[in-house]
Symmetry: C2
Subunit: 237 residues, 2 copies
Amino acid sequence: MREALAQAAFELFTERGYEQTTVDDIVARAGVGRRSFFRYFPSKEDAVFPDHDRCLDDMTAFLKANPGDDPVAAVCDAARIVLRMYTANPDFSVQRYRLTREVPGLRTYELSVVRRYERALAGYLRRRFADAPDGSLRAEVIAAAVVAAHNNGLRSWLRSGGEEDPEAEVDRALSFVRDVWADAANGDGVGPSGSGTGVLRKGVGDGADGEVIVMVAPRNAPMWRVIQSIESTLSEN
Amino acid sequence: MREALAQAAFELFTERGYEQTTVDDIVARAGVGRRSFFRYFPSKEDAVFPDHDRCLDDMTAFLKANPGDDPVAAVCDAARIVLRMYTANPDFSVQRYRLTREVPGLRTYELSVVRRYERALAGYLRRRFADAPDGSLRAEVIAAAVVAAHNNGLRSWLRSGGEEDPEAEVDRALSFVRDVWADAANGDGVGPSGSGTGVLRKGVGDGADGEVIVMVAPRNAPMWRVIQSIESTLSEN
């Protein structure tokens, strides 16, 4: 029933336009009564985004279950749950993206949905950073950065009409955030498990790929200077 | 006239509640006709936030005039224009903050205002990063981070009832973002002036602080692994 209503609503929105379609039109098309509509959707806008509530629940459950030795990685993975909701139905997602661009009321609704995801991510990070200096600030900034990166990748896929590889787009965008925040997430600059070293040493030990970089830096250099130096060395060669 | 209408509207919203106040109530209190209201404000929500349009114009003009040898600093300064709008009238800002918390329609309106600021900042950064790889992604993520940091500082001041030092709160929050993004803002890994490498070499060359770290990694190691390894090394010693 819920799906039939969402389906009918979307057909009518694309046929006649969003503003021109009433709830009465939708229930007539779906062959149900008006009260059934409001049992499933508080408003016409909600019928355009029928899966966000479930997706938000999934995200919350995922974060709750996450042991979280790497909180920034965890919120990036949580953001990917939203991506999968979009990619589960590419045609619908692309059409809805086009519809949303045209209807100011839907854009506003979408903003409030995005904000709810952001708050869920920030809430998780706030708990994880409870003991860090400026934990709440870190949590909110990182959540906003993750959401912005995810949406940049998602939009790029939607604008392509669903042609590009959505996972690759979003992975690239999220890596950008992860790389930058891997350091800043922890106030003291100490990483969670040190597992990176093992991987790196393995790379050197078995001689795979051959090339290595050797980096010399003052111990007290801020992390961004170190990164800048590494990137600069890589781009010189 | 515009100010008198905003004043009347706000008095009524706090006296009777937002939902219980009509545009007719507002024009009666201000002693003007109904059409005057809509000449200045498209909706009741707009009367609650009468200065955002002007503030957005100021921000746009500021960014346009900014020579911008440091784009991240420029958007942080642009965000401070919003702070100054709030601090210009602390009592009103604090009362409005409380009202907005209570009225879902105002929260939604505020989200769309925040989004407009974010778009202005992102648009500026996108132009500044036009030649950088992933310039659009960088622009959107940094704009979102700056807005989140600004709002964290601003909210902290508003929640205190306007008691704390708002400039200090927001400066601290924006510094957090600036420190992290100072490096990432430039796609090629070379800072605005290439100063990062210079600082590191200087640190080694003159023997200041003595200690150095030497890091070996496969050339193709992802940046987050490299960072993790450095952090792990630092924490071991």
